[in-house]
């Protein structure tokens, strides 16, 4: 006898698919460059907002969204590998992947905010550091992308592996939020509610806006672009 439980709340699902879309767009615009590099920068700020939201949601979201619910301690990982794990959210191996992905994305966004391309693009926080520091962070940004690419391949390979080998559909629950579990394993899932969602959204929006646009109010004004001399 199986029952349906809620495993991923709506904000988490929206976060996941928006993040997937944003990362894909960031990769495409970053690879093409040219005029699209400005969009790459804007998408980066959007990803910053999404990451801040996920961080907050990891403390105030519904059960399975919380870091305390899935934080992968070594003993949890071992017990999962032995087949003893009986949870419904991120399994301990999946949790390692989640934390690695979020960490690498945060590093890429963090470095990208200070980066420059030696052509005509600078991240929004470029004025806060020296050119040589920006160059170092730019190279971290480009090299770190290889790590992200490897993690994304692993992420998708794991989904395929679970679907084909373990006959376990991971994509469905990420779309519907629901998961079929044996009746004796069904649990009550706490719901975060709209108010927490609105507050989390507001905070992440303000942070992203502040970093993306507001920082110009903190730095000395650039000389007017038209201040050219007659000679």
């Amino acid at each position: 006898m199986s029952v349906t439980i809620q495993v991923w709340d709506l904000p988490l699902r929206i976060f996941h698919w928006l993040l997937a879309l944003a990362v894909l767009s960031a990769v495409v615009t970053g690879e093409i460059g040219g005029a699209l590099i400005d969009w790459h920068g804007r998408i980066g700020v959007l990803i910053l907002g999404l990451l801040v939201f996920r961080l907050i949601w990891g403390f105030v979201g519904s059960s399975h969204a919380r870091f305390t619910n899935f934080f992968p301690t070594p003993s949890k990982v071992v017990s999962y590998l032995k087949g003893h794990w009986k949870g419904h959210g991120h399994n301990p191996l999946g949790a390692l992947s989640v934390i690695a992905l979020l960490g690498v994305l945060a590093t890429l966004v963090g470095a990208g905010l200070f980066a420059n391309d030696d052509i005509a693009f600078q991240g929004p926080l470029f004025p806060l550091v020296s050119k040589s520091v920006s160059d170092k962070l730019s190279s971290l940004h480009s090299l770190g992308f290889n790590v992200l690419a490897a993690l994304l391949v692993l992420h998708i390979a794991a989904i395929v592996f679970y679907a084909r080998v373990k006959k376990h559909n991971l994509v469905g629950p990420m779309l519907t939020g629901k998961k079929l579990v044996p009746k004796d394993q069904a649990i009550e899932v706490s719901n975060a509610g709209v108010r927490r969602f609105v507050v989390a959204l507001a905070i992440s929006g303000v942070v992203a806006w502040g970093v993306g646009s507001g920082v110009q109010y903190l730095t000395p004004a650039k000389p007017a672009p038209t201040a050219a001399q007659s000679w």
Binding site: G34, I119, S139, P225
Partner: protein, 157 residues
């Protein structure tokens, strides 16, 4: 006697090496300067057409596009001598060593840069901001293509 000859040889080879290194350092310095100067002009075009089009000044943009085209047409290839990937200009060169093995591709990316720079010069003269913006994007892509192919990502070199 033998010792003196040996010393003379050592000194001669060290100083030629130093002079040879100096020539390559000089090439790197010139080319870094050339691209930085082009980047300064690019930033003016971007500022006046993409970021703050209300500040657009036709003469300044023509001057900037002329400067970029002049840099592109100045024969920059002469500044990429063998061994210059190991040299230091204002900072260590990030030229990839395979630059010297892939000359066909080098010519392709370099010619693309020249072509788009010359086109930008023409478009700038028309004063059509939208067209300048588009052409400026194309120019930026040629910069990036060369960076992706022939510039080390690692700045720690």
């Amino acid at each position: 006697m033998k010792f003196k000859i040996a010393m003379a040889l050592v000194i001669a080879s060290v100083s030629t090496a130093a002079i040879a290194g100096q020539a390559e350092d000089q090439q790197v310095k010139f080319r870094q300067s050339a691209y930085s100067f082009a980047a300064w002009n690019c930033s003016k075009i971007k500022s006046q057409t993409v970021e703050h089009p209300e500040t657009y000044n036709k003469d300044q943009i023509i001057a900037a596009a002329n400067a970029i085209a002049a840099v592109a047409n100045s024969g920059l290839g002469a500044l990429f001598g063998p061994g210059s990937d190991q040299a230091t200009g204002w900072k260590k060169s990030r030229l990839k060593p395979e630059f010297f093995q892939k000359q066909d591709e080098v010519i392709k990316v370099a010619t693309a840069f020249n072509k788009e720079a010359n086109e930008l010069q023409k478009v700038a003269a028309t004063g059509d901001i939208g067209a300048i913006k588009t052409q400026f994007g194309k120019l930026g892509e040629t910069c990036k293509n060369c960076h992706d192919s022939f510039r080390l990502k690692d700045d720690a070199k």
